[in-house]
Symmetry: C2
């Protein structure tokens, strides 16, 4: 099995790339996959892992390669929205049978893939999570899904996104039809007033009001609000769900951390 790795957002640390094959061998022995780590992962141009064209081309090249079984987004940051509408229309039949895994900023591409019915798409850990404490388990969790990207038996339709990323693609061609889905959201590094505002945005969108229900993942590294926002992330999520007539279905086990679970879409 071959897993292609590209970085549509920010640059990947070489140390992560170096450690990945050994980690897979330790876990899978001779069944370990081969990693095709595109050199684009190590480019750098300002905020990004190389120019927009290089990031789009690397993604299209590996996604369209029939010898590669799955695409693993190397890491998040910011930049995937800059390549989505250049890359997605260039995907061929070979791209349609692949699995795609990532989260955070990679959600722009996961959304666009899912909106266009391309491949099997999941929110879940990325190679860069290796740098977290306990991150080895997260990376192996992601790898496990890539090795066997089956939908969960009997599971409801579902999808998962970083809240800000989902907010920032509402009303664009990247917005997928999530009607009937359990939607999980998570957030990192945003003030409570911004979490509240993004929830207004999400729950005011007519398409999003068709979801089966909303689950709240972890909101980590929330800066102190001045003045105190008083309301917690769960209280504001309940508020907006009630306001929009969306079922609040409790907490989801996702977030910017080593415990982040894989959520296959659909």
């Amino acid at each position: 099995m071959k897993i292609g790795i590209v970085a549509p957002s920010c640059r990947l640390d070489e140390t992560v790339a170096e450690r990945l094959p050994g980690l897979a061998r330790d876990a899978y022995g001779s069944d370990a996959p081969e990693f095709v780590i595109h050199p684009q992962c190590f480019l750098s141009e300002g905020h990004f892992a190389g120019p927009d064209a290089a990031r789009a081309d690397a993604f299209v090249e590996l996604a369209n390669n029939p010898d590669i079984d799955a695409i693993w987004f190397a890491r998040g940051g910011y930049g995937a929205c800059r390549v989505a509408d250049n890359a997605l229309p260039r995907l061929s039949d070979a791209a349609r049978t692949k699995a795609y895994l990532g989260y955070s900023d990679a959600g722009f591409l996961l959304a666009g893939l899912y909106a266009n019915g391309i491949g099997r798409v999941a929110h879940g850990p990325m190679p860069t999570d290796m740098k977290r404490e306990g991150g080895k388990a997260a990376v192996l969790r992601g790898l496990g899904w890539l090795m066997d990207p089956a939908p969960l038996p009997g599971a409801k339709k579902q999808a998962a996104f970083n809240l800000t990323v989902l907010s920032q693609l509402l009303g664009t061609p990247l917005q997928p039809d999530l009607s009937g889905h359990v939607l999980m959201i998570e957030e990192v590094g945003e003030y409570m007033y911004r979490i509240d505002r993004s929830l207004f945005h999400l729950t005011s969108n007519p398409g999003m009001r068709q979801i089966a229900g909303l689950m709240l993942g972890r909101c980590s590294d929330v800066p102190d609000n001045d003045p105190d926002f008083i309301l917690t992330e769960e209280e504001v999520t309940r508020h907006w769900c009630r306001h929009a007539g969306i079922a609040y279905l409790g907490r989801a086990d996702i977030g910017h951390d080593a415990d982040n679970q894989v959520v296959p879409f659909g």
Copy 2:
């Protein structure tokens, strides 16, 4: 003439309210307007100038009062999106003949008013701008429009928003039809990668691709990006306009500052 002042977002400083009548008298003498400053402006609940219901009710009360000629939003911050869809459907015929002025977070209500064809709506200075250096001129500029809210003779249709606020209402019922409008945007306190992401969002929305062109106001207090984003706010605006087939029409004289101009919508 009577001007009603409400605070749909954050609390107004009493000192601003105390200084406003004197400032108007100095400028207009016996023609100075009477200010009806709703006591809700001084409520406080966490981030907001009182509970959602109090902010919505104060706005509806003054907007529906036939003795009041215009509504001036006291200040921005965050919170107007929490009252918009409660308040807007309750506005009566008396609200339809008024002028409404504000900017920043008040843009949620300006958008909803304009989307529903209610009143004469403008982006422009608010009472709280008095606290800025040179802010007295800004407040008088806003007051001047409220005293005579005429459209600019021969001007193209136009609208102006804080970029983040406009982004956060795309794909919701608050999104106005801006086809054929010159759209001006400004930003404050956002990282360049966020300005870029909001511009992706804005220029990827099919409705926004119908504008006559985009003008870029000032982007102030931009925190340092790590790594350096390289691109300036004008370069990213040109990038996204080119990408979306939207005409870039140059700089607009708006922003979170004392020079912020009045932009009547329509």
